[in-house]
Symmetry: C2
Subunit: 241 residues, 2 copies
């Protein structure tokens, strides 16, 4: 060994990103863009057409579709078609419950594991709305809101919790866009957030956990009422399967 430390430093090239990964990103983004839950939404996808549009062959595309099916975004009906999956009200409510479970545990961990800076970052995020609660744009608030909650998951330093919640996020996003309506939820939400932050700052894990759970379960109850009121006892394609 002549040279232990070569003068030139090179970062290894990430060779693990493959065509599939790009396709995945595109597809996921495209699906997020779609206005699911619109009455006239075209939920059917065509493998060959998609492959053409993306400029790839069906094989890698299919593997992506499989993956998206795993994540519950698509439904593949053999020899029938591939469909973007709408969720039933029950499924949506269950997702919110699962989210509550994950995030409340994250809050408990965060109260112990998060740094002061990390907790402070939550306060920064919330500060934006503390004064202008009522005037805030709902769509924008919705985005920031979910970022706030993801941040809690992140500062728990439990990667798995974040990852599992991320799988639910896609649906939550689509649902919120359609369901978030009651003005007064924004104000309540802001108050809840402050309560959560204070519990974390006080390093009260159990309290933070409870508050996060209660907060998310309020969304749960809200959605249950809202969707039911909107004549969507079952928002999916019905008894299709």
């Amino acid at each position: 060994m002549r040279v232990l430390l070569p003068p030139m430093k090179l970062q290894p090239i990430d060779t693990s990103v493959t065509l599939k990964d790009h396709i995945y990103e595109r597809m996921r983004a495209a699906i997020l863009e779609m206005d699911l839950y619109a009455e006239d939404a075209d939920l059917r996808l065509d493998e060959r057409s998609l492959a053409d549009q993306l400029g790839v062959s069906r094989t890698p595309l299919r593997e992506v579709l499989i993956r998206l099916e795993q994540e519950g975004l698509l439904e593949v009906q053999p020899r029938r078609g591939i469909f973007v999956q709408r969720k039933t009200l029950t499924e949506i409510l269950e997702m919110i419950v699962a989210w509550a479970a994950l995030e409340s545990m994250a809050a408990r961990l965060a109260a112990e594991a998060a740094s002061d800076d990390e907790i402070a970052s939550l306060r920064d995020m919330a500060a934006k709305y503390s004064l202008t609660a009522q005037g805030a744009d709902i769509a924008e608030y919705s985005d920031d809101n979910i970022r706030f909650h993801q941040r809690i998951l992140d500062i728990s330093h439990c990667k798995l919790l974040s990852k599992m919640a991320a799988g639910l996020f896609v649906h939550m996003h689509a649902v919120r866009r359609r369901a978030m309506g009651e003005e007064d939820r924004v104000a309540k939400s802001v108050v809840d957030h402050m309560g959560i932050i204070e519990a974390l700052e006080a390093r009260e894990g159990a309290l933070a956990s409870d508050r996060v759970r209660d907060h998310t379960m309020r969304l749960h109850d809200h959605v249950r009422q809202f969707w039911r009121a909107a004549e969507h006892t079952d928002i999916s394609k019905g008894e299709a399967r």
Copy 2:
């Protein structure tokens, strides 16, 4: 319409089960059979060889492998190989945390939603060990133990919680088989279970939730110590990625 109710009744044929599904079952079972975490375990898989053994082509097999990768059982390294994935201690601990999050929420729901019979079924499961705690076979107890916990998830009537936990189960199973050693954990576990059952019977959601979480987090702490003691600060292939 001549006949509204034909005299012959036929159940629709389930045409949705495809080759992939069979392959999936086989592969998953085969991986579960493998003694992961054995020093000399051969973790490498070969697509072509597997396809031969199963008598199918690579394409459907690959889609299954993708799915198993999604579930965290495999790791596909492009142009290198496919490996059964060992988990690092950190990852295992995170899985236990996630499990605790899901199951404690399930217990909370179960306290409200489960029928008396369902809660009684838990007591039946636990009764088997209430008397013979020390004498019980560890492997057998381990299996029954995890069934008990899955049952709690089931009677929450939240399918998603069960499903998400099921994804973690595979690893929990493999880890338990190797880690479950301390005799006295069995006795403690039995006591914990009874406490959980009592809380559910009393319909005390918050209490049941706390007890479930504490119980699982005790496993968490136990595993953390046990694996560390067993010279497995990192049980995976190291800094491989």
